[in-house]
């Protein structure tokens, strides 16, 4: 049995950016595990995430001490041609020996079916972990997803922040090496302010405990996260409960080593501010957790997380309160200044703010949105007046002081200010809802006005950006067009809004065409269509449909004429796939499709004639198909695609019998054409919903 021990790597750095911390730590661990595996070492991988603002840490348990020995075998030339009659080696033999780094005498012989040949075999002893680890670590560091590499001092290396030390240990021993210009050691620094002298680590196993016990550092990210969560709840307990945003909790966890939650307060006067403003001030500006009472109302309190546990906490608390007071005073000043003017005074100013150079100002966009949302409202039979008003005011809150300070409150402030201006309630709500969904799983706009405006806003941006060739590539999507397209799809499908996407794009294009910013690029419908279709595939996958169901449905009627109907057909296909008849009918459809592809010429024009049918199976199928044509028409009219496919499922037996007993490609061309025409009809029935031949049933 090979010897095993734990492996420890710590990269000690200056404070790392919190938002990238867990990604770096995970990547480092994965790359090192991968490197060990490739080099033939064994280890145990757990899911611990070890990272603090000043250290990236990897611990792998029970790593083998040595690579397995490698047996190297090589076959050389046949013995019969390797030697001169006097036994002296020919060049083939000496050449082979040389390539194996031995003399001819040292070569062995091996019997092969072709005859005896020269043979070389050696056992390469596996390298020790001590020899391999520095290179494995160096390679893993190269692969780190560092957002912005930096240099420091006059060093030639780069990293996310300056590096101060590397611990590399195997069991109790230091693995010697030089990584990022640092000589590996067993020494580190503890908490910045508690421990001024270096901490020595006795073994990889002892690392986490040593730092916790003697260095004021919780290395385990999730442990620290739980400590902060518990402390935060505890700190608020007496008065209410904290609002813990998980992203903020992660950020705070990533910026502390020895956290302590502290309850602080602010003046009641600030509670008159919109709650979103208070929350943004606390969460975004000060990285603090808000506190609510039992009825979920904000209290004039917040929880600050310090990275130290001082003897007296009151100074840190009063310091944080002072900063919060300054922040909230600013916010209150902005809010009160904004309330002095109605939103509509900003409309002209929108003309000074560029939306996109080639697409004009926010005023240009507003004017397009008015036309576009009017068009959408008409298509959806929504009340137009409020929608046009909402479109007119849609971007005005961007000009307010509050949104200038908190850009993420766009729309939300619009709603507050519109209400204050006594705009219709639907208009106020639409100003907020136009931005929804703000992220993939966010809520959708609930009001008709909000939905129309949300669709208009997204399609205007999509058509405009594609029209000037600002198309997302790879990970680059500066205008968040993917999110816009995904939101568009969600709103239309999940709210069952029957809009012809193709027509909508054309209308948007025309609105641009008749504005000051006509789009240079033509035929954008195709690229934009593909782009939206890609997002549709994502949506479909996220909503429990399989890829073959999606492709089958795409094979039916044109998807972009109505996404709601597309969804209905998709659901029908999903249900159909569960029917016992599905497998056989999918296979039959595939067969029909192949036959029709091979015999494409002109058959579509033919209608099958009853009097040309001979075999009983084809007569039966023809009768059944004729019957189904009538029933299917009713289902189709009601858009009941699930019912339609269930109805068609009855065709399984006649179809199966037809293929068992009837020869489609009969010698008589008349009979052949007639049978093809019958199959065309059969396929047309299914194609009203989907291309069932693409379903993979029972295949797996």
């Amino acid at each position: 049995m090979t010897k095993k021990a734990d492996l420890l790597l710590e990269i000690l750095t200056e404070e790392l950016p919190p938002k990238n911390l867990t990604r770096l730590a995970m990547s480092l661990k994965e790359s090192i595990a991968e490197g060990l595996k490739t080099s033939g070492f064994e280890y145990e991988l757990d899911d611990a995430l070890l990272a603090t603002p000043r250290r990236l840490v990897v611990i792998l348990n029970n790593v083998t001490a040595k690579q397995p020995d490698q047996v190297i075998e090589r076959k050389g030339p046949l013995s019969s041609i390797s030697f001169f009659p006097d036994g002296a080696p020919k060049p083939q033999a000496t050449g082979f020996a040389k390539s194996c780094d031995v003399s001819v005498e040292q070569l062995e012989r091996l019997d092969t079916p072709k005859g005896e040949c020269l043979y070389f075999k050696k056992t390469e002893p596996g390298k020790s972990i001590f020899d391999c680890l520095p290179d494995i670590v160096t390679e893993a560091i190269k692969k780190l997803p560092i957002k912005k590499q930096m240099r420091w001092g006059d060093h030639d290396i780069t990293f996310e922040r300056p590096v101060h030390g590397i611990i590399l240990m195997y069991g109790r021993k230091i693995v010697p090496g030089i990584i990022l210009e640092k000589t590996t050691s067993n020494k580190t620094q503890g908490h910045r302010f508690y421990n001024t002298s270096p901490i020595t680590i006795s073994s990889a196993k002892a690392y986490i405990k040593t730092l916790k016990k003697y260095a004021h550092v919780y290395v385990d990210f999730n442990e620290r996260k739980n400590i902060i969560r518990t402390q935060t709840i505890h700190a608020a307990q007496r008065i209410g409960s904290p609002v813990i945003n998980d992203a903020l909790l992660d950020e705070v966890t990533a910026s502390t080593e020895w956290p302590m939650a502290l309850l602080a307060k602010f003046s009641n006067d600030f509670l008159s501010l919109p709650k979103e403003v208070l929350i943004a001030s606390m969460e975004k500006h000060q990285r603090c957790f808000p506190v609510v009472d039992q009825s979920n109302q904000l209290l004039p309190n917040f929880i600050a997380i310090a990275n130290i546990k001082p003897y007296r906490t009151k100074y840190i608390i009063s310091g944080n309160e002072r900063v919060m007071r300054a922040r909230l005073s600013d916010a209150k000043f902005f809010y009160e200044t904004d309330l002095k003017h109605p939103l509509n005074i900003y409309i002209d100013q929108l003309g000074h703010v560029v939306f996109q150079k080639q697409l004009g100002t926010l005023l240009n966009k507003t004017q397009r949105l008015q036309k576009l949302s009017g068009y959408i409202a008409k298509q959806l039979h929504f009340k137009i007046t409020d929608i046009e008003r909402a479109a007119l005011l849609s971007k005005t809150d961007l000009m307010t002081s509050m949104v200038g300070e908190f850009p993420e409150l766009q729309g939300i402030m619009g709603e507050y200010y519109a209400r204050h201006d006594n705009e219709p309630e639907t208009v106020a709500i639409a100003l907020k809802e136009q931005y929804m969904p703000r992220f993939a799983t966010d809520d959708l706009p609930q009001t008709a006005t909000g939905q129309a405006l949300a669709i208009a806003d997204r399609i205007d941006t999509l058509v405009g950006m594609f029209g000037i060739n600002q198309i997302p590539t790879g990970t680059k999507d500066p205008f968040a067009l993917r999110r816009a397209a995904f939101g568009l799809i969600r709103i239309m499908i999940e709210h069952e809004l029957h809009l012809n996407l193709n027509e909508l794009i054309k209308e948007t294009y025309n609105i641009y065409k008749h504005s000051d910013h006509p789009l240079p690029k033509e035929h954008l419908g195709v690229t934009l269509g593909t782009f939206i279709l890609d997002r549709l595939a994502t949506w479909v996958g996220q909503n429990g449909f399989t890829l073959d169901q999606y492709h089958a449905t795409l094979g039916g009627p044109i998807w972009h004429e109505d996404l709601v109907l597309f969804h209905a057909r998709l659901k029908a296909v999903q249900h159909f796939a569960t029917l016992p008849e599905a497998e056989s009918l999918a296979a039959a459809n595939k067969r029909v499709k192949n036959i029709l592809i091979k015999n494409e010429a002109g058959i579509l024009k033919h209608v099958f004639k009853m009097d040309l049918l001979k075999e009983s199976a084809e007569i039966q199928l023809a009768r059944d198909i004729s019957k189904r044509i009538e029933t299917v028409a009713a289902f189709e009219k009601n858009c009941d695609y699930t019912g339609l496919l269930i109805d068609l499922a009855q065709l399984r037996d006649p179809v199966d019998r037809f293929f068992e007993t009837v020869m489609v490609m009969d010698e008589d061309p008349k009979l052949q054409q007639n049978r093809l025409a019958l199959l065309v009809k059969l396929r047309e029935l299914f194609l009203k919903v989907a291309d069932i031949s693409l379903l993979q049933i029972g295949a797996s």
């Binding site: 919190p18 603002p53 912005k148 420091w152 006059d154 007296r312 944080n320 600013d330 000074h352």
Partner: protein, 301 residues
């Protein structure tokens, strides 16, 4: 970490910082005698960060940011304030420790408060400069900017300059436990507050910045400065050319305060300054190179 006695006044605080940094081998130099928005514009920062020559200095720099004026009404914001700027080139490996010791030298005990290095990367599009670093927070309040320069004037920084910028008023408010910058005690004898010196200045300068600054004259000045800068560059005079950039920058900031520049134009003006800054940076590098990078020789001698 040894914690000193708290300086009681604004002037004591400056003296404490100067004494501390002088001991760390920094020349104590003086502010630039021109309006600038930050210590970064001081030639001792912007120009000295260029090229291989070492540079260690500390100085107070008065800053003017016309748009931040609040007529003296806001306790935390003003159009004129002070930065304490420390430039360490190359940035020493213990630069964070040096900085933290300076905080202790101000009588702040890092074990009794919450000092944090929060990611904050710096970018100045007009100077073609960027760096990575932090804002340093003290009990939730930003008290310093800490930057490792990566590029200046479009040139890679080799070696890297470390820039430490202290917000003096904020630190003084903390040390003196006052809620308004105007209540900061500047000196004991005579007993003078920050407000005694600057309140009236804030009121009058805000009025000038927002209401009276002559837009046409400023627009013309910007163009003149730009032209002059180009002429100076043609005559291989990067130092006065740099001063023209500072003039143009300040004119631009005043125009901004007067809302005389639309968003679209803004970008154009910034690009114009950036082009000049790049040209000055390159020419300054060449002129130092022609001189044989004199400070480099001094350093190794």
């Amino acid at each position: 970490m040894f914690t000193s006695k708290k300086p009681q006044t604004f002037q004591d605080m400056i003296l404490a910082l100067q004494t501390y940094w002088a001991k760390q081998g920094c020349m104590i130099t003086q502010p630039l005698d021109m309006p600038v928005g930050a210590g970064t514009f001081h030639p001792s920062t912007f120009l000295r960060a260029i090229g291989p020559e070492p540079w260690r200095t500390a100085f107070v720099q008065p800053c003017r940011r016309p748009t931040d004026g609040r007529y003296g009404d806001n306790p935390n914001r003003a159009q004129h304030y002070y930065q304490f700027q420390v430039i360490l080139k190359p940035s020493p490996d213990d630069i964070q420790a040096l900085y933290l010791h300076s905080i202790s030298a101000l009588g702040i005990d890092p074990k009794q408060c919450d000092i944090r290095f929060m990611e904050d990367n710096w970018e100045s599009p007009t100077l073609g400069a960027w760096g990575l670093g932090w804002e340093v927070c003290l009990d939730g309040m930003e008290i310093s900017q800490f930057t490792y320069f990566q590029q200046v004037g479009g040139l890679d920084c080799k070696p890297v300059t470390g820039e430490l910028t202290y917000g003096l008023e904020r630190i003084a408010m903390y040390l003196q436990n006052v809620d308004s910058m105007f209540d900061i005690l500047w000196s004991h004898t005579p007993r003078v507050t920050y407000g005694d010196i600057f309140k009236q200045n804030e009121i009058e300068m805000s009025a000038y910045n927002f209401e009276y600054a002559d837009v046409n004259a400023l627009l013309k000045q910007f163009d003149t400065d730009e032209l002059q800068c180009k002429t100076l560059l043609e005559n291989k005079l990067p130092l006065p050319a740099y001063e023209m950039i500072l003039n143009a920058s300040h004119a631009f900031n005043l125009l901004d305060a007067r809302h005389a520049i639309s968003v679209t134009e803004r970008q154009q003006y910034m690009l114009r300054i950036r082009a000049l800054a790049k040209a000055v940076a390159e020419q300054y590098y060449t002129s130092r190179e022609t001189l044989g990078f004199p400070l480099l020789k001094k350093d190794t001698a």
